[in-house]
Each structure stands twice: as structure tokens, then as C-alpha cells.
Symmetry: C2
Subunit: 155 residues, 2 copies
Amino acid sequence: MQSNDYENCFQIINMNNELDIFVDYLKQHNLRCTPQRNLILKIFLEMEGHVTVEDLHKKIRPEDPTIGIATLYRTMKLLIDAGLVEMHNFNDKTTYERLYMVKHHDHLICQICNKTVEFEHPLIEKYQQEVCDQHEFDLKSHRMELIGFCNECKK
Amino acid sequence: MQSNDYENCFQIINMNNELDIFVDYLKQHNLRCTPQRNLILKIFLEMEGHVTVEDLHKKIRPEDPTIGIATLYRTMKLLIDAGLVEMHNFNDKTTYERLYMVKHHDHLICQICNKTVEFEHPLIEKYQQEVCDQHEFDLKSHRMELIGFCNECKK
DNA sequence: CTGCTTGCAAAGCGTTTGCATTGAT
DNA sequence: ATCAATGCAAACGCTTTGCAAGCAG
């Protein structure tokens, strides 16, 4: 089965989790594996949904109060480059979202309370590809946000 | 015919173009119709696609060098509230796009040259509505961006 | 050792705000 | 004569950068 081959491949080169991928990415680019970088990834993975640098900073402070904001920004950029994290600009603040081994999804966003619901719809994806083909675009990723009032706020 | 009624309605209350709508919006909200506001709208309508405040400022300077950035931001906000303009946050800079009497569309964005192509796909819109119904969301608007390499850059 | 990484502080940047003045109604 | 709107400059908040000191390899 194809999915088995895929899993085996990951096991052989020991790339079956985010930390391994990150360490590998760092090696490939002659970057250093530091305790700060590892801690940031560890804490980030413990958080869910859309994480701001501020959130991350608060959550990391107890474990290492010396980590500076700049390091957070720099490390999040590395995680994006490593393909592990996706950046969003829904509102004023940038948020980061876990990407690896997580199904791709889109977002429903409530205009009033900012609640976000994640969803996916295979047919929408199919038509997206169709549009790209028409325009000779190589589709790399997409972002879809449906904006409105959630069932609480529309009352 | 319904579309005729619609057009007549616009003609009667003199709301058949953006300036009329803006003037009306201002009146309804006890705001003042100033030469700056009119000029900003006029220049904005002469521009195409996604306009930044910086673009607007450059284009306006020859006609009125005294207009300040703050007034541009303040006026663009009014135009959004009046339903004439839509704001985007694709990249770092905010862009503004004409909304009124323009068909809704989504965007193909080239990751390399930042070129954007506009498109629309009725079936995608249909499935969006379906997703919202499932989640009991009142859909007000949406934003879809397909990100990849355009036919030039993928070479 | 080498030179990447860090934390700090300062700078950068787009955007917003306070305020005295101007101007539309 | 009002009171909103303007232009300016300063403030703002998030993000980036320069730098000397610190560390991974």
C-alpha cells in the first residue's frame, strides 16, 4: 500500500515528527540546534489553534524567562521555512498555526466574537485546482476565510 | 422586471454611482462633504486593482500636495463603511479595492512576483454557503486566495 | 576556534491619535 | 456660530535589525 511505503520512508530517515524534521532542516541549512529553538517548538506544539507571538512568549516565560521576543520571531520564521508552520494575517496580529501532519483546512471567522471554526471541503479544493489550471498557475497553497456571524452572535 | 425596478430605484434617489452613494452616506451620518474626501474618492476610482495608501498619496500629491496620510486613512475607512471599498491584508501593506458595482471575485496570488489575478467560480461560492449552513453561520463575505507560482515565474 | 545565535535595545514600518486650526453647514 | 475635518507630529504596536556577548559544532 502506498500509505505504508510513505510511513516506512518517514521511519527510515527518522522524520516522523516535527522535532526530527526541524533538526534535519537546521542541519541541511547549516543552522544550529539550540535549546531555545527546541523549547520554542516544544511549547508551540503544546498549543492549539492560532498562536500569536505574545501567547507563545507568555507560555514560554515560566520555562525560560530569558527568551526574547526577537528569538521567537526568528524561530517561527524558521519553522515556516521548514514547512511545519503556517502564518496567518486575519486581523491585526499575525498568528501561527501548526501545519505538519494536520489536515489542511479553511476557516469560518465570526466578525463579532472572532471565534474561528475550521472546516474542509474536498469539492472546493477541486474547483480551486481547476481555476489554477485555467490560469496556468502552479498552486502551492490557499487560504479561504468565510466571514460572518456565528450561531451565538447572530442572535 | 425586477432589475428595472432596481435601476429605477437608484435613479430616483440618485444613487447610481459611487460619489452619490458616498455623499448620501456622509449625509446620513452627519458627516461633512469636503473637497479632500471628494478628491480622494475621485482619484481612488481612477486607479485599478489593489491600491495602497502610499500609491494613493503619490497620485494625489500633484492635485493637492497638502493632503496628509491621516486623512487618507480616515477617508478610506469611511469608504469601507459606505460599502464602496474592501480592505485586504495579503502582505505587509494594507490594500484597498473598489467594491461597488464590481462583481465579487477571488484572487490568485503569485508568491514570487506578487502578481494577482482575479477570478470567480460560482460552484465554489455554492459550497461555501453549504459549509456555513452546516455550521449555522450567517455568511457575510469571504476571502479566498490561491497562492502559487504564475506562468511567468514558474519557469 | 569559528561564526551562528542570543537577548537587549533601538530602529523601522504602517497605521492611529491628539490637538490646534480650518472650514462646511 | 457650530462642531466635524484637516494636517501635522507624536504616539502606537508589531516586527525587524544591529550589536556585543554567548555558545553549538
